[in-house]
C-alpha cells in the first residue's frame, strides 16, 4: 500500500512530444529499466504480504482450530477494537512514541546547541554522545534492565546506596514505572540520533547572515528564535518523522525489558503475541490493518513536511 502524498516538488518536464512515437516509448522504457528491479522487488516483498493481511483480517482463522476457517466479515475488527488489551496497546504505542520522540528531540536540540561551539574535546564529546545509538537495541535493553534498573545489583540502586548509605531507598524501577523505564531506555538511544541530524542542520546555517545579525546588535536569543529555529524547522521535522517511524514499531525494548507486562504491551508486541502465541491469524491481521491505517494518517502529514526538505534540491 502506498501513501498518497502528492509531494509539492515539481515534476521535471520531459522534452519531446506525447507517447505516439516509437522513439519516445523506447526512451521511456530505457529510463524505467534501471528502476524496475528495485520497484518490483519492493512491491512483491512489502505490498503483497499486506494484501494477504488485508484479506486475512476478514477471515476467521485460528491455527488451533483449522476447521473453522471461513469468512468473518468485520468480526475481527470488532473484536480487536472492543478488546481492552488492544485499546491499551494503542494508547501505549501513542504514549511511547510521543514520549520518546518529544523528549529525545528536545534533549537532542539542547545537546546539538551545546556541541555547536568550538571547544576542547568537542570531537570526544560527540563520539561519547553517539555511543548509545551504536549499541545493538536488544543489548541496550538488556543493559538497562539488568545492569541499571535491577533493584538488587543495578547501577542506579548501587549509586543510591553508595551515596546515601545502607538505608538508601532501593526502588524497583521497572515495576514502579514500567512505561517510563522503557521510555528512558529508548530516549537514551534516540537522543544521539536527533542530536546528529540537528547538529548537521545547525552547521548548515548561512554563517554570514548570522554574523551580520550579530553585528547589527541582535541578541543571542533573537538569533536563535528568528534565524536558527526557522532554519532548523525542516531538520526537526525530518528527525521527528524518522524517529517516529522507528519508535512506533519498537519491539526490542518492550520485548526485553517488560515482555509486554505491566501494561506496557504496544501494538507491535500485541500483534506479535496474537499471532505467535495465540495463533489467532484473523485477529492479528485485523490489528495489523488498524496499525497501518493509523500509520497512513500520520505519514500523510509527515511526508508532506519532509518533502519540503528535499524540494530545494529536486530541480533536475
Amino acid at each position: 500500500m502506498s501513501v498518497d502524498t502528492k509531494p509539492a516538488a515539481a515534476t521535471p518536464k520531459h522534452s519531446g512530444g506525447q507517447s505516439g512515437s516509437m522513439m519516445r516509448k523506447t526512451g521511456d522504457w530505457a529510463r524505467r529499466a534501471p528502476l524496475l528491479p528495485a520497484l518490483i522487488f519492493m512491491i512483491v516483498v512489502t505490498q503483497l504480504p499486506f494484501v494477504v493481511t488485508l484479506i486475512t483480517s476478514f477471515m476467521d482463522w485460528n491455527a488451533y482450530y483449522p476447521d473453522e476457517r471461513g469468512f468473518a466479515g468485520i468480526d475481527n475488527f470488532r473484536r480487536v477494537l472492543t478488546d481492552a488489551n488492544t485499546r491499551s496497546a494503542i494508547w501505549v504505542t501513542i504514549l511511547l512514541t510521543v514520549g520518546v520522540v518529544l523528549i529525545s528531540l528536545v534533549l537532542g536540540l539542547m545537546i546539538a546547541l551545546l556541541l555547536d561551539r568550538k571547544f576542547r574535546g568537542r570531537g570526544i564529546v560527540r563520539t561519547m554522545m553517539i555511543t548509545p545509538f551504536l549499541v545493538v537495541p536488544v543489548a541496550a535493553a538488556l543493559l538497562w534492565k539488568h545492569a541499571l534498573y535491577n533493584p538488587s545489583y543495578g547501577l542506579f540502586n548501587g549509586l543510591l546506596k553508595g551515596v546515601f548509605g545502607e538505608n538508601a531507598p532501593q526502588p524497583d524501577w521497572i515495576s514502579n514505572q514500567p512505561l517510563w523505564s522503557i521510555i528512558f531506555a529508548l530516549v537514551w538511544q534516540w537522543t544521539p540520533f536527533m542530536m546528529l541530524i540537528l547538529l548537521a542542520g545547525l552547521q548548515s546555517r548561512p554563517l554570514d547572515v548570522i554574523e551580520a545579525a550579530g553585528i547589527d546588535g541582535a541578541s543571542q536569543w533573537d538569533i536563535f528564535r528568528y534565524m536558527t529555529l526557522p532554519h532548523l524547522r525542516q531538520y526537526l521535522e525530518l528527525s521527528a518523522l524518522l524517529g517516529s517511524i522507528y519508535v512506533v514499531q519498537n519491539f526490542d525494548a518492550v520485548f526485553t525489558i517488560t515482555s509486554g507486562g505491566l501494561g506496557t504491551a504496544n501494538l507491535p508486541y500485541t500483534i506479535y503475541q496474537t499471532f505467535y502465541t495465540a495463533h489467532d491469524y484473523g485477529r492479528a491481521s485485523a490489528a495489523g490493518v488498524i496499525v497501518v491505517i493509523g500509520t497512513i494518517l500520520i505519514a500523510t502529514f509527515a511526508l508532506r513536511s519532509v518533502s519540503s526538505l528535499f524540494r530545494e534540491e529536486t530541480g533536475r
Binding site: M1, P34, V45, T131, V136, Y153, P192, A299, F310
Partner: protein, 281 residues
C-alpha cells in the same frame, strides 16, 4: 563535519564559555556512562558484578567472556554477518540503478516513486509478518538465512534509494554529457563516471543498512529457529539461567554490539548522512 561554527558574540563572556564546555562534557559522560558501566562489568567476576553498592575497582576478569563464548554464540554471529553483508550488497545493487532512474535520467512521476519507497518504510513490519511467516512455512523457507536476507533488503532498500538519489543528484551534468558524447553505454556511464562521484554516498548507505540489519530482532525472532538464528535472537534467549549472570550478559552485549560500534565510530560523518537519508551531507 565541516563548518566550525562559533557563537559570534561568544567572546564577551569567557566564564559562560567554560560553563558551557563543562556542561557539554558532563552530558557526554552521562550518555556514555551506561556503556562504560557495561564494559567495566563485563570484565568483572559475577560475584563482583552483583555487588551493591558497586565495586568499581574490583579485579578484572575474563570470566564473563569465557562463559559467553562457552554458550556457543559463533553460529548466530556468523548468521548475523551473512544476513547483514549479503542484504547490504543486494540493497546497493538494486538501489543504485533505481536512484539513477530517479535523479540523473528521471522517469516520469519520479517523485511519486520516491515517496512510494519511503511509504513502505512506514508500513509497520508487524503488518506483513504473518503472511511472510505463512508463506515461508508453506514452502519450507522458515529458519533459512536467505529469508532474512530478502526481508532485510526490503527493509533497507528505501533508505538506500533515498540516500543514493540525493547523492546522485549532485553529479555534475557536464560529466554525464561528456560521457554520452563519447558514446559510452549506460552501464559504462554508471560504472566509470557516476560511481566514483557517489562512492561516499554508497559507503553511507551501506553503513546504515549494515547497522539496521545487524540490529534487527522481530523478523529474526519469528522466522528463524536453531539454524538461522541471528545474534540479537541469541541475546534474547541468553538470560534464562537463575543465579548470577550480569557479567556474562554485559560481555555478550559488548561482543554483539562491537561490529556496529566499530563501524559507527570509524564513519561518524557517514552515519549522519545515512540517518538523514542523504538530506544532510
Amino acid at each position: 563535519m565541516s563548518g566550525q561554527v562559533t557563537i559570534v558574540t561568544g567572546k564577551k563572556n569567557r566564564g559562560g564559555g567554560f560553563a558551557l564546555t563543562g556542561l557539554a562534557w558532563v552530558v557526554g559522560l552521562l550518555f556514555v556512562m551506561p556503556v562504560l558501566w557495561m564494559l567495566l562489568t563485563s570484565f568483572h567476576t559475577e560475584e563482583d558484578a552483583a555487588k551493591n553498592p558497586p565495586d568499581f575497582g574490583a579485579p578484572l576478569s575474563l570470566g564473563g567472556y569465557k562463559e559467553f563464548f562457552a554458550t556457543g554464540p559463533w553460529p548466530s554471529l556468523a548468521n548475523s554477518l551473512t544476513a547483514s553483508v549479503l542484504s547490504t550488497a543486494l540493497v546497493i545493487l538494486l538501489a543504485f540503478p533505481a536512484a539513477y532512474a530517479l535523479s540523473i535520467r528521471p522517469v516520469r512521476k519520479w517523485t511519486d516513486v520516491l515517496f512510494f519507497f519511503l511509504s513502505t518504510k512506514m508500513l509497520p513490519v508487524v503488518a506483513g509478518l504473518l503472511p511472510i511467516y505463512l508463506f515461508a512455512q508453506s514452502v519450507g523457507f522458515l529458519d533459512n538465512i536467505w529469508l532474512l536476507i530478502i526481508l532485510y533488503t526490503s527493509m533497507n532498500l528505501p533508505i538506500a534509494v533515498w540516500m543514493l538519489r540525493s547523492f546522485l543528484s549532485e553529479v555534475p551534468t557536464e560529466i554525464l554529457e561528456a560521457a554520452s558524447v563519447d558514446g559510452a553505454s549506460l552501464t559504462r556511464t554508471l560504472r566509470s563516471v557516476v560511481a566514483p562521484v557517489v562512492t561516499p554516498g554508497i559507503a553511507s548507505a551501506a553503513l546504515i543498512c549494515f547497522i539496521f540489519s545487524w540490529n534487527e530482532l522481530l523478523f529474526a525472532r519469528v522466522l528463524t529457529g536453531t539454524v538461522a538464528q541471528t545474534a540479537p535472537v541469541f541475546l534474547t534467549g541468553f538470560v534464562t539461567s537463575q543465579g548470577l549472570f550480569l557479567a556474562k550478559v554485559c560481555a555478550a552485549s559488548i561482543v554483539v554490539s562491537l561490529p556496529v560500534l566499530i563501524a559507527g565510530f570509524a564513519a561518524q560523518d557517514k552515519l549522519v548522512q545515512g540517518l538523514s537519508l542523504g538530506a544532510v551531507k
